[in-house]
């Protein structure tokens, strides 16, 4: 069954697009990442112009995010207070990132430097998570299984300097207490990176919340989903405004597929032990890192590439 996309200006197979949506939705529901890193290349591979793929992917994520956030909220998995602080940080960082990107583009090679940093960062995060979650699975549960006295243990495990910062704040849903500056700065850092790299950053945000903020995995998934909703909505609007590249038919079909996937993913996630969730996320992150390395290593068949900017 074919569908004509008015903005992408091409025919696509509806079933194929629904399947893409389903796959990305499943991952979102399960581990709270947006899946922009997955949907964009899939769409480009199908022949959708890159800018339309990126933009409509963001629109889809806003839709999927709204749906997934609802489900996560029903499961009680969203720490709204944490999400707002992270969001404030990532918007500040995002704005700074756009400004930085503008300066750095003039510097020439910086895009490549960022790519390298990114690969290293992703590889490091992914492999550490992989090791940690495998160990946890072998040990059978822990380290974030709810045990008595857990919060106390966690607090001491964090670097003491974090507890001395001003604006200490209680995050009851995440069962942590920390300075609001910590998530604000972490959100900011992720925001800068996402502006520079042009991706949603769920797969950076999620590990940051699990390992640095020491939040419970399931709360992380829900909170990440919720804050991703706003980030991607902003990107979607800006892309449509600046590049006229949001295709409503494409985004709508993707959302349709993704909601089924999200619903299934979230249900599975609710039953699954946290360390297994982290293992899946680790595999995803490592997968993205490997993909980026492949792009760097495999010689391109055509050195030059031409893309239509605006139709």
């Amino acid at each position: 069954m074919q569908l004509f996309l008015p903005i992408a200006h091409m025919d696509v197979n509806i079933v194929l697009i629904l399947m893409y949506g389903g796959l990305v939705g499943f991952l979102s529901g399960l581990v709270g990442v947006g899946g922009g890193f997955l949907i964009t290349p899939l769409l480009i591979f199908t022949g959708v112009p890159p800018i339309v793929a990126v933009s409509s992917g963001a629109t889809q994520m806003a839709g999927t995010g709204a749906g997934a956030s609802y489900i996560q909220w029903r499961y009680g998995n969203i720490d709204f207070r944490m999400a707002l602080v992270l969001l404030a940080g990532s918007w500040l960082g995002g704005g700074l990132g756009v400004y930085l990107a503008n300066i750095l583009v003039r510097g020439g090679q910086f895009g490549n430097v960022v790519t390298f940093l990114y690969v290293v960062l992703l590889g490091f995060i992914g492999i550490s998570m992989l090791i940690e979650s495998m160990r946890a699975i072998i040990r059978g549960g822990a380290p974030d299984a709810p045990v008595p006295g857990e919060i106390v243990v966690r607090r001491t495990r964090r670097h003491p300097i974090l507890d001395r910062l001003p604006f200490q704040m209680e995050f009851p849903i995440s069962r942590v207490r920390m300075s609001a500056l910590v998530p604000l700065m972490l959100g900011g850092g992720v925001g800068i990176l996402t502006s520079l790299m042009g991706v949603g950053g769920g797969f950076i945000m999620v590990p940051v919340m699990i390992y640095l903020l020491k939040m419970p995995t399931k709360i992380v998934v829900g909170t990440s989903m919720f804050q991703l909703l706003f980030t991607t909505a902003a990107v979607s609007i800006m892309q449509a405004g600046a590049n006229h590249s949001v295709d409503p038919f494409l985004a709508g079909t993707l959302i349709l597929g993704s909601i089924l996937g999200t619903s299934y993913g979230a249900r599975l996630g609710a039953r699954m032990p946290a360390e297994k969730l982290r293992l899946i996320l680790a595999l995803v992150v490592v997968g993205v890192a490997i993909k980026m390395v492949m792009v760097l290593v495999v010689p391109p068949s055509e050195i030059y590439e031409m893309t239509v900017r605006v139709r």
Partner: protein, 246 residues
């Protein structure tokens, strides 16, 4: 009287082309517009014409302008990294040079330049502006890719002339044809001189809801973006709420 007036107006209009406006030549596509419907997979526009007596023909089809981005990768040690990108503006999305013989065999080089009958003679603007010969690689890459994708085509077998009178050709529009006005310019050449000239058009346009959306995405970009994003969120939320209940 009226007839005379019309002739005078016509003659006045032809004045700039006086040198070669003497031979009769009419070329017309079978349709003046191509609608992009949901099933659109490219179009084959049959084009007919009449000439009086022997001569060579050149039909130049120029698509609407389309801005593209060119990027390249360079080898850096063992790695392939981004080697910059430029925007190419002002170039037609499509350029066909159809002829009855190789154009170089029909017209002298300076005549070719005069009528812009070279694929690589198209004026393009590379942004940002590069100094010296830095733009040459990009320029060459642009034309090479356009020709590879068969968007810029020179074909000396595309025109069929029957008994030195009837002209038939096929203008092939790709599935992702740029929306807009396609100009079909025909030149009649006799012994190295352009002696006849005709221009017609094909309008490629979208219809129905696709057209409406396409227009909205351009004329009210921000509003369209906000509406699309909100609609996406409402759709996602509603679907989730429905599915989750079961």
């Amino acid at each position: 009287m009226k007839h005379l007036l019309r002739s005078m107006v016509l003659a006045g209009l032809m004045l700039p082309f006086l040198g070669w406006a003497d031979d009769a030549l009419v070329i017309e596509p079978e349709t003046s517009h191509v609608d992009i419907t949901p099933e659109f997979a490219g179009a084959d526009v049959k084009t007919y014409g009449v000439i009086d007596g022997p001569g060579d023909l050149i039909i130049k089809v120029t698509g609407p302008r389309q801005d593209v981005t060119l990027s390249r990768e360079i080898k850096w040690g063992p790695l392939w990294v981004g080697g910059g990108k430029v925007n190419v503006a002002g170039a037609p999305s499509l350029l066909y040079l159809y002829a009855t013989k190789p154009i170089a065999a029909i017209l002298a080089p300076d005549e070719q330049d005069k009528y812009q009958l070279r694929l690589e003679g198209v004026r393009i603007r590379i942004e940002p502006r590069l100094l010296g010969h830095a733009a040459d690689d990009w320029r060459q890459a642009f034309f090479r890719l356009k020709e590879k994708e068969r968007r810029y085509v020179e074909d000396d077998h595309a025109i069929k002339v029957i008994r030195d009178r009837l002209v038939v050709t096929d203008i092939v529009l790709p599935a992702d044809a740029q929306i807009g006005n396609y100009v079909i310019e025909t030149l009649l050449v006799k012994s190295g001189k352009v002696v006849g000239h005709d221009v017609s058009h094909i309008e490629v346009r979208q219809i129905g809801i696709e057209r409406w959306l396409w227009n909205a995405a351009r004329s009210h970009a921000w509003l369209f973006g906000i509406a699309c994003t909100l609609a996406a969120m409402v759709l996602g939320f509603t679907l989730s709420a429905v599915f989750h209940r079961h």
